[in-house]
Point group: C2
Chain length 201, copies 2
DNA sequence: GAATGATTTGACCAACTGGTCAAACCAAGG
DNA sequence: CCTTGGTTTGACCAGTTGGTCAAATCATTC
């Protein structure tokens, strides 16, 4: 049983499993993924997987908790004392980069939310809500101070999430429409223009 | 076998099945949905379902093809001869209303796309792409004519899709964050402001 | 009300899936 | 070497799932 002091083999295999699981879960959803798929993607046998993780649920859970933390860090870093426009634009671009660099993570999250977030509902209405309440207050103070134009702070955040993650979550659709053009060629410019025009007082 | 002239019973049951299937597929995804769930949601027995539809795939396919058509109609209606700003704002608001009134359809679509659109890839790169190519040309002509501000027309559409559908697809997350406030209270105003500021020349 | 065709269902099946387990294998230290 | 504890696996199991089928039931029409 993997315990306190993980061996080299444990570290390597756990990492391989989580990577394979991310591949499969993000592409098929929790129910669509099978332990066998994850096992062969990780180059291990099914019983061997279940030696490292007690269940399919456990793998999914491990991925989700790790994700929730990383996913929110750009918002956490929004600095109340920084330049408002620069802070928000920085947040937007960082989120867009995460969509480009970690599309699997974005899709794992999307799968979970679209299906009603059965496994992370608590985290949403606690951790996420608290963080958002906090940061929207900051944004509201910037608005009140006349530093940025007046918009509904919550909906501003929703729009940033949706717009940036859309490039990861709806990747197939975007590529089907764009043909050869790389989505991330025009995207940074577009979102930059959009939020500058929206927020310039 | 349901054939040329559908009886009253056939019409009623087919409709009940498709409605139940939409409920279940949109909430659980294709693989997550079971025929038994759909059957009991429709108030029928499993073999009875399979009397009306030859397979689970067939139900899903029927929903998707019907959806693809309805889903694109607002874009199809974008009138090249109308007032540019009014046409685009009308499109935005109509899409937002569809998110509010048909969230199940939006989520059915989202589930399919996030998982790589295995069953509608052809429709995306044919029907959708053609329509989008057509309408972006119209938008580009409005830009060239100076009627609206210059933006990447494709990314403009992507942003409208993502922003409006986000309210349906990520409903749980949005409600978890907003608490008691109804998302659709602030949304119309927000998207209106956003696109007016973006597009006003 | 008998005949005919549409509709409904209980019983069933084969494939798949998550998970178990005892036995085998292997790495490292003594 | 050989022991010890971590690692790996083939065989297996019980529950679920999509789908079938023959028989029963129902609605309509003549």
């Amino acid at each position: 049983m993997p315990a306190a002091r993980p061996t080299r083999i444990q570290q390597k295999n756990r990492a391989a499993i989580l990577d394979a699981a991310l591949d499969v879960f993000s592409a098929q959803g929790f129910r669509g993924a099978t332990v066998d798929q994850i096992a062969s993607a990780a180059g291990l046998s099914k019983p061997n997987l279940l030696y490292y993780f007690p269940s399919k649920e456990a793998m999914h859970g491990a991925l989700l908790t790790e994700l929730m933390d990383n996913w929110l860090s750009p918002l956490r870093d929004l600095n109340p004392d920084g330049d408002p426009m620069q802070e928000i634009m920085g947040y937007v671009h960082r989120k867009l980069q995460m969509s480009r660099d970690f599309p699997r993570e974005s899709r794992l999250f999307a799968n979970e939310i679209v299906q009603g977030a059965p496994r992370i509902h608590a985290a949403l209405s606690m951790d996420l809500k608290n963080l958002v309440d906090d940061k929207t207050a900051v944004i509201q103070s910037w608005i009140t101070a006349g530093k940025i134009a007046s918009v509904h702070p919550y909906h501003l955040l929703f729009s940033i999430w949706s717009l940036t993650q859309h490039y990861a979550d709806f990747d197939v659709q975007i590529r089907a429409v764009l043909g050869d053009e790389d989505p991330f060629e025009g995207a940074p410019d577009f979102v930059d223009t959009l939020y500058r025009r929206l927020l310039t007082p």
